[in-house]
Symmetry: C2
Subunit: 303 residues, 2 copies
Amino acid sequence: MRAAWTLSLLFVLAGLRPAVAEDSPAPEPPTMGSVLAATTAADWQAVDADDLLVMTVNGKQVLIELADDFAPRHADNIRKLATQHYFDGLKIMRVQENYVVQWGDPAEEETARRPLGEAAAKLPAEFDRAWGTLPFAAIPDRDAYADQTGFTHGFPVGRDAQAERGWLLHCYAMVGAGRGNEADSSNGSELYVVSGHSPRHLDRNITLVGRVIEGMEALTVLPRGTGPLGFYELPEQYVPITSVRLASTLPEAERPRRERLRTESPAFARLIEARRHRMEPWFIHPVGRIEVCNVPIPVRTPQ
Amino acid sequence: MRAAWTLSLLFVLAGLRPAVAEDSPAPEPPTMGSVLAATTAADWQAVDADDLLVMTVNGKQVLIELADDFAPRHADNIRKLATQHYFDGLKIMRVQENYVVQWGDPAEEETARRPLGEAAAKLPAEFDRAWGTLPFAAIPDRDAYADQTGFTHGFPVGRDAQAERGWLLHCYAMVGAGRGNEADSSNGSELYVVSGHSPRHLDRNITLVGRVIEGMEALTVLPRGTGPLGFYELPEQYVPITSVRLASTLPEAERPRRERLRTESPAFARLIEARRHRMEPWFIHPVGRIEVCNVPIPVRTPQ
């Protein structure tokens, strides 16, 4: 059956239960769809307008949530830059296949660069932090890079229980602050987003500042740079950034509003289990494991 | 130093030694660049023209190496389809952000579909195989999904030493054969390539048939489908496949020739170590680990 094949193939590749099995008398095993359908308002967290950057590129909106728990100083600096409209008219300079999309001020000469205004030119590195009282939704399975992985307030994190330290992970869609060889050489004016397989070797080597929660495709469809490391070779190839705004500085009517499934909620714990144990009829090998960057973090627009 | 910062940032994000450190008196630690510079002809393997598919889309070439060791029957069927020019004029129907690009015959009705000619309509699943005498370049670090991971003849693989079974892994750029709920419902006429973070939960659930060794960006820059699971909603959105040819059926002068670093070579073992231990001055946390899908498989065009 071509129709059934195609249908099941689609559902399969998204890990949802194929419609072709709907008439099965057996109770449905949990899936992402059924877990989300059973959520209540309390399972969802409104993204704070003070943590939400609205980046406009080619008429499309990219929404970035800042990670105050792990990079408070970089987040504050980026808020200052956005409030000053620092990024407006700056450029996407680099689009490297299966790696990163990077933007900032392309001027090589210090003197030619846009002034940072109220924002700091250098910040201490925020590669990791004392764990303290942060919540932790743990992944029970092995990870190549960290002894423990899981989620904290909507972000993928690594944890060292002995040292009681925690850090953000370079999963797809995570946003970081470019730096030079000095740990304190980043300030949030030059940013990159992970656009491919997660380059986890960058964890704890560079300050991650947030995550794109919507609109990645506005960046990932851009032409790849043909220069070394995916940099555009000619200034006319740069992709202009129309604007970057902090949502809380926008008029009420213009603020995008989004909700994230609380990673501290029982619903998210059920989602992790539904994704670890793929019970859909399509699955032949049960899997029974998951890697942190393969866990989706559901985001919705409130009605 | 803006210039130095930018320079080191670029090199950094590619894991190469920043040029700014060139004048250091200390011996350079191995990097991908230095390991490749030290290779000899014996470290490189010419990709067999009978294993090389040349797919042309929007005037760009996508090169796919077939994985005879793990999917010999699917590889043979795909050779038959390509030799019959089966794929010419068929469509890319699905481009799902951070997941897969998928192509084949969009016709829903069996009767409306292009005949498979010499090729089989169904094949037994080739999800894994008895390990036998295959070579194995092992990754020493943990993996979320497999007890052992590494490389065999240029492909990322998982291994179960007790069961003496091996299988290909869903790393970025791996190509698979779509199937329905029945394990034996794939035939290689509908294919997908992994375009984002590796969906390793698909390992051993669907037959992987090869790997894109060049030209991924011809597929990953395509507009994302706006229908469920990234399918294009309108036939006019389909991206036509100009042609798919088996390189060995092309006139000598038109055959693309590529070489892969032998994953069985000492040079590849050195490359894995250079990527596990990031000694470049930029790195502050030494890493000391790697995940299989983060190991590059170098490909070059012979002079």
